[in-house]
Symmetry: C2
Subunit: 362 residues, 2 copies
């Protein structure tokens, strides 16, 4: 069974979709004969006008749809799960429901969204994992379907299009703060352990490290390149890559990593090389980082979820911390630096700088 | 706005809920005057009878509700997330939808289920985290709401009540297989690293280790107790506890753990003590175990999801592997042993038995 759509009514009454919409919203403007024919079709098909807008406004019984991707492996794979927990909890508090669906491709996701919209089952959508030339936002804007994306519209010019509401985490700023924290404590050769470019989020995070190193130490491209290691997001691969770095000519006195997976590899390599004294900061603040005591940059997914709902529904006790100068349709969330190991903390570092931390080598 | 319920119709028409149900399902049995009054109330309230049963039978547009708990920290917290991924993927393949809600207590969950049932929004429920004297199944059975639990009805006599459909993972059998694997390879002092009792799943897992040790080695209670360590599910606590074990008089030649969190603690303690040669097997096969190369017992959550849907909807290419002799309403899924480190594998162990593995100590 499929619920009747506005297209079904239009076909049955032999009018355009717009006319059906007029009958529902501004019946006084419709010719009486047409009005009667469309109303008859509405009754015949038992069509119910999409109540999304009203339900969303009232924030009652409205349903938010979100795609759940296949289980990602690895340590950072759980970030979107944690976002889903925050979103569901906050949506429930606001009287909303969360409906899950799956889709293998963006095209299939669009088909699913259309079906859920036509069935009047879902009133608004939260999209995740935005990417370069993502076809979904444009389609949703055309269709006038309320949505918000977790993720900036990468690869387009107008980040501030008010029709594309988005929330994102300021990865650049998080890595910038992590790098500054190490530089403030006296480090001078802070290495970047990142993913091979191009990746939208990876390149954004790296730019935070670059900016900090350029601003504070005046480093040029060649010097930055010599402090930069690119490796896929895998513990064993990262361990090998960082082992090579630690066996090289220029020994880093700090490491900032694009993910906790890379940070764990760096920690294993540093431990094996007897260099546990080198500070390491990961990204995502995963349960693994917490369990192993690895310092990390926290995405503050509760703030992301609050921001997404606020952009869809309007603020309710809205206390989102935006780090950029943003308008009402966009939120760039400032991440939090979570420092756990003594050697990652600013107060520990004087002993490291004057060389006494060599005692920590074994 | 709240959708009208059968209770609203009954109140408006001044009849019982049962009479409303009769009007909808067997109108010929209802007195004409009552029929007209109830039908008028149905029209007035715009009430739509619950189409759940039909939708479920047709497996089209039906919606399955599941509670999403607050984010659990720790390494094993993601097990229910991974189940949700499998469930959503398989439900979508069968044309079903998955709706999330949250609830702080079982009573609140029951309230949520009632509201979702009354609104005709959800057709069946999947319950997780069953516990001793869980009030939810009994209530759902009374209300004739279709449901299946991921988790046995712990603490009651009749595990085979056909009205309580459940799927569970045979933790006892998984740990039994893990222990036998180590004993087969020649180990004789396989330690159990588990949680303080009583915990339903923890005690069940421990019984697998006990059974294997009693059957193979004829150990008594005192000997088992001397090989058993109880510690909360925390890496640092487990590291300390296992460090004490390794510093003790009776050195284990294998460790089977109630979780990957405990296994990671055991691995860190063994590494620190220079005893990386001791085999270690965890439980859950988390992404952390995979990333760090720790052997583990896999819950096979895709099989759990398939079993849950099969019990709710009937089998569709049903290939669930049940390890117990179970009827059509219950599925006990046999876990899989995932061995990763050479020292955990049976073929590695001859060298360990004859003592040459001591070369692996440093």
């Amino acid at each position: 069974m499929r619920l009747p759509t506005v297209e079904d009514v239009a076909r049955t009454a032999r009018v355009s979709r717009q006319t059906v919409s007029n009958v529902i919203n501004t019946p006084a403007r419709v010719k009486p004969a047409t009005l009667l024919r469309v109303q008859a079709a509405i009754r015949e098909l038992d069509y119910r006008p999409n109540q999304s807008a009203r339900r969303l406004r009232q924030q009652k019984s409205a349903t938010i749809g979100i795609r759940l991707d296949p289980q990602l492996n690895g340590i950072s794979g759980a970030v979107l799960d944690r976002f889903l927990h925050s979103l569901t909890e906050q949506a429930t508090e606001r009287g909303l429901r969360v409906l899950l669906f799956t889709a293998a491709t963006p095209t299939e996701e669009i088909d699913q969204i259309r079906a859920l919209r036509d069935g009047a089952d879902v009133d608004a959508f939260v999209l995740t994992a935005t990417f370069d030339h993502d076809p979904r936002p444009e389609w949703l804007i055309e269709q006038k379907i309320p949505f918000v994306t977790f993720g900036r519209p990468w690869g387009i010019d107008d980040l501030n299009d008010p029709q594309h509401r988005w929330v994102d985490v300021d990865g650049r700023r998080g890595v910038y703060a992590a790098t500054l924290s190490l530089l403030d404590a006296g480090a001078e050769r802070v290495a970047w352990i990142g993913w091979p470019p191009p990746t939208a989020t990876g390149d954004d995070r790296r730019s935070g490290w670059e900016d900090a190193m350029r601003e504070r130490l005046g480093l040029g491209d060649a010097e930055l390149a010599s402090l930069c290691t690119e490796v896929v997001d895998d513990v064993a691969e990262a361990t090998n890559a960082v082992a090579n770095v630690l066996a090289g000519a220029v020994l880093p006195d700090g490491m900032v990593c694009a993910s906790d997976t890379l940070a764990l590899g760096a920690l294993i390599a540093a431990s094996t090389a007897g260099r546990r004294d080198i500070p390491i900061i990961g990204f995502d603040d995963t349960p693994v980082a917490a369990a192993l005591g690895i310092s990390s940059v926290e995405q503050r997914l509760d703030q992301v979820a609050a921001g997404a709902l606020a952009l869809l529904l309007g603020p309710v006790g809205d206390s989102v911390v935006a780090s950029g100068a943003l308008d009402v349709a966009h939120r760039l969330i400032e991440p939090a630096l979570v420092l756990r190991r003594p050697q990652d903390l600013p107060m520990f570092n004087p002993s490291r700088i004057d060389g006494t931390a060599a005692a920590d080598k074994h």
